[in-house]
């Protein structure tokens, strides 16, 4: 489901060449990409999402060979096969939470099927933010925004979910609650959590630590 082998990346002509460790995971796996600041966590996440192109190596995510895919193929693939929970919840501010959650379907299929709306209702209900469905993003608290962000990443049933520092700004109790939500809601997907949060290092058996000397 996710395969990284011999991947190297360099920002521009002058930037340092980063080498990332090899790893892979199967459908339904949970894994942690652990590393301190400056170890290239965000760069690797962007490589895995097809937002950056590696100069060398093999990057295959959800059946898509990322180094050879065209930009158009990557755009569609991201909308259909990937779910991304960003460290800071981004939303389209002019749309309601409900509309934001439906946006991936609209962008990839040109419409929002009725069953997606049903699924959205039950997911928002499970996450405790059903009453905020019609609200604008800025009207939600940080915690509500993060839960909405998780719902958006999972609503279209992606094969792989990437979560970028989902617990960095949370206390122990809330960090655990958010990870429980992610585990539960992304039960059918491969979940890759990118974090520097040492509290999570024992959560999953499959953990890859990024080495600063490699970046």
């Amino acid at each position: 489901m996710v395969q990284v082998q011999g991947v190297q990346f360099q920002y521009g002509e002058e930037g340092p060449r980063m080498t990332f460790p090899d790893f892979s995971c199967q459908p339904g796996d949970r894994m942690l990409l652990l590393g301190q600041s400056g170890t290239g966590k965000t760069t690797l996440l962007h490589l895995l999402c097809g937002m950056l192109k590696a100069q060398a190596g093999t990057l295959n995510v959800a059946g898509q060979e990322l180094r050879t895919a065209s930009d158009r193929e990557l755009d569609t693939w991201r909308g259909q096969a990937l779910g991304v929970v960003f460290q800071r919840a981004h939303f389209v501010q002019s749309l309601t939470i409900q509309e934001n959650l439906a946006l991936p379907h609209q962008l990839t299929q040109g419409r929002v099927p009725a069953e997606v709306l049903d699924r959205m209702d039950s997911m928002l209900d499970r996450l405790g933010i059903a009453h905020r469905a019609e609200a604008r993003p800025h009207e939600l608290s940080m915690g509500e925004q993060q839960r909405a962000s998780i719902a958006r990443a999972l609503l279209h049933k992606p094969q792989v979910v990437f979560a970028d520092e989902p617990t960095s700004a949370l206390d122990d109790h809330n960090a655990s609650a958010v990870m429980d939500i992610l585990d539960r809601e992304a039960a059918e997907a491969t979940l890759v959590v990118v974090t520097h949060d040492q509290r999570l290092k024992d959560r999953y058996p499959h953990c890859v630590t990024l080495n600063p000397t490699q970046a």
Partner: protein
């Protein structure tokens, strides 16, 4: 759930009400001013064209030729004076002149001119009777459609005339005019006139028992139709030693509209400047949207949006502004035309309130929408080069 690109564009515009309102107001005023000028020009030109209708020369007292035309063809100015009827009839008998219609006036009723003339005046403008008959005896009046409607005149109504063309102070209470007919609307100047025999105008100013010398009878003007084109050159020479002149409506009106045109050119330049500012406003609005919403745009790329999707979204926002601003402009010009028509109606009794969309206005609207789209298309190109990774890392 409505989530099409058009819907998203609309929601994005609504999310920035002040910026959107400014762009709309600028484009609305620019388009509105140009549209109002097009409408006004069309209405004025149509009114001038309709009333010139086969009148080649106007014979009247010496003075401003333009005033002679405005007073006797359009009835929107004071006459230059009176001329002797016998002298005018001599001009009418000139071999180069085909026919003529005499006009005598100087009184009004409730601001509407009472014009002494012949039945040929009504026939000249193709007016027909709605009810009653044309005047026959002195003090009988056939009312134009607009006068009858505005004053509520009916067959058999009577009224006194007042001296002057608008004044209501010096009323001739010894002579009563009776309405004997009402004309159908003709779209010409007769709609706003009270028509009567020439004798009515002469007699109303005479004391009881006074006898008028036929040689001393005066008229205000004579509308002439030429038989020979040389009349335009010959007739003025024959009038050199008289108190009369002939003026050519086509030339005078053309001269006037050219002077009028200088003013409208200046106004049009101002309107174009406002429109240019509005396009700059749309340009800045889209550019500002790209800067302020770059994280949203990058986010849409991570959710399956292509660069083309983002480009179309931004283009739609500019397009919506252009279409709405243009529509607002056309509505504003109609409001302006309604106000203007009320002023013109009150001042000159002319109806200029036609509200149909002119061909030139469709062209104006098309051009405004096209330029508006272009003004948004240029900055929207930035969305095609959006670096998703860097933009999201900056957040």
């Amino acid at each position: 759930m409505k989530l099409s690109l058009l819907h998203q564009a609309w929601r994005n515009l609504r999310a920035k009400p002040l910026q959107t309102a400014l762009s709309l107001a600028l484009l609305g005023f620019g388009v509105g001013m140009v549209s109002l000028m097009l409408l006004t020009e069309k209405q004025v030109n149509d009114a001038f064209e309709r009333n010139i209708k086969d009148i080649d020369l106007v014979l009247g007292a010496k003075g401003s030729p333009l005033q002679l035309i405005l007073a006797n063809v359009y009835h929107i100015d004071a006459p230059t004076g009176n001329i002797n009827q016998r002298a005018a009839e001599k001009v009418l008998k000139h071999p180069y002149i085909d026919s003529g219609i005499p006009l005598a006036y100087g009184d009004n009723h409730e601001g509407y001119r009472i014009v002494g003339t012949e039945h040929s005046y009504v026939a000249h403008y193709g007016a027909t009777l709605a009810e009653g008959q044309l005047w026959e005896a002195p003090y009988e009046v056939t009312a134009g459609a607009r006068v009858a409607e505005n004053l509520g005149l009916k067959i058999g109504d009577t009224f006194f005339s007042a001296h002057g063309l608008k004044d209501q102070t010096d009323i001739h209470t010894n002579k009563t005019f009776t309405v004997v007919g009402i004309l159908e609307p003709s779209g010409s100047v007769v709609d706003q006139l009270l028509l009567t025999p020439m004798e009515s105008i002469w007699y109303v100013h005479m004391e009881d028992g006074e006898v008028m010398d036929p040689e001393a009878r005066e008229i205000t003007a004579m509308l002439l139709k030429k038989r020979n084109p040389l009349a335009v050159l010959t007739i003025p020479n024959t009038l050199r030693d008289t108190n009369m002149q002939v003026a050519l409506p086509a030339i005078e009106v053309n001269r006037m509209t050219q002077q009028f045109g200088l003013g409208t050119s200046a106004l049009r330049a101002i309107a174009m400047l406002i429109m240019a500012l509005s396009f700059a406003s749309i340009f800045i609005s889209v550019l500002d949207n790209i800067r302020a919403r770059r994280h949203e745009l990058a986010l849409m790329r991570t959710m399956g949006g292509t660069p083309g999707t983002l480009y179309r979204l931004l283009l739609l926002e500019g397009g919506l502004l252009s279409v709405a601003g243009t529509a607002l402009g056309l509505v504003l010009s109609r409001v302006g035309m309604t106000v203007l028509s009320q002023v013109v109606e009150a001042q000159f009794h002319y109806d200029v309130a036609a509200m149909g969309v002119l061909g030139s206005e469709w062209a104006l609207a098309g051009a405004a929408i096209l330029v508006g789209l272009l003004a948004s298309a240029i900055p929207a190109r930035r969305s095609l080069r959006l670096d998703i990774s860097r933009t999201l890392s900056e957040a």
